[in-house]
Symmetry: C2
C-alpha cells in the first residue's frame, strides 16, 4: 500500500519559524498554526509576564482540554446514533 506523501511546511508561530513535517496538507498545517499563534497571543494579552514556554504550554493545556471535552460529546453522539440504528 502506498503511504500518503509527507509534506514539509514552514509556519511562523509567536515570532519563531517551525518546519512541520507530516501527512497533513500545507493549508491545514497553516490553519492550525494560525490558531495556535492566536491562542498564544490571547493568553499573553491577559498574562503579560508569561514567557514563550509558559504561553505555549498553557496553549497546549487549553487545546487538550477542548479536545477532551469534544471527545466526550463525540462519544455521546456516537452512542445516540448506534441506538437509532438498532
Amino acid at each position: 500500500m502506498s503511504q500518503p506523501e509527507k509534506t514539509r511546511t514552514t509556519v511562523d508561530i509567536y515570532g519563531r519559524s517551525y518546519n512541520i513535517v507530516g501527512n497533513e496538507k500545507p493549508e491545514q498545517i497553516r490553519a492550525v498554526a494560525n490558531l495556535v499563534d492566536e491562542k498564544m497571543r490571547e493568553i499573553h494579552a491577559v498574562n503579560k509576564s508569561l514567557d514563550s514556554t509558559n504561553l505555549a504550554v498553557l496553549t497546549a493545556v487549553n487545546t487538550m482540554n477542548d479536545y477532551m471535552k469534544l471527545k466526550e460529546e463525540f462519544e455521546v453522539l456516537q452512542k445516540l446514533l448506534e441506538e437509532k440504528e438498532e
Copy 2:
C-alpha cells in the same frame, strides 16, 4: 445566575510548575496536564535537540490538529443524527 466556582490547580509539566485557574475540576486539569506532559516527552524522544518552547509549541500544534479533525468528524455525526430525526 451563580457562576461555577473557579478552581486553582498546580500541575507539573515538563519539569515546570503551573497554576491553572479555571472552571474545570482539579482531576480534569491534572489529566489534561499529564497528556500534555506525555506528548512533550514523546516529541522530545524523537527530536532531542528541541528546546522546551519548541516542544510546547509543537505539542500545541499537534493537539490543535487532532481537535480540528475531531471537530470535522463531530459535525458529520451531527448531520447524520439530524437526518435521522427528520
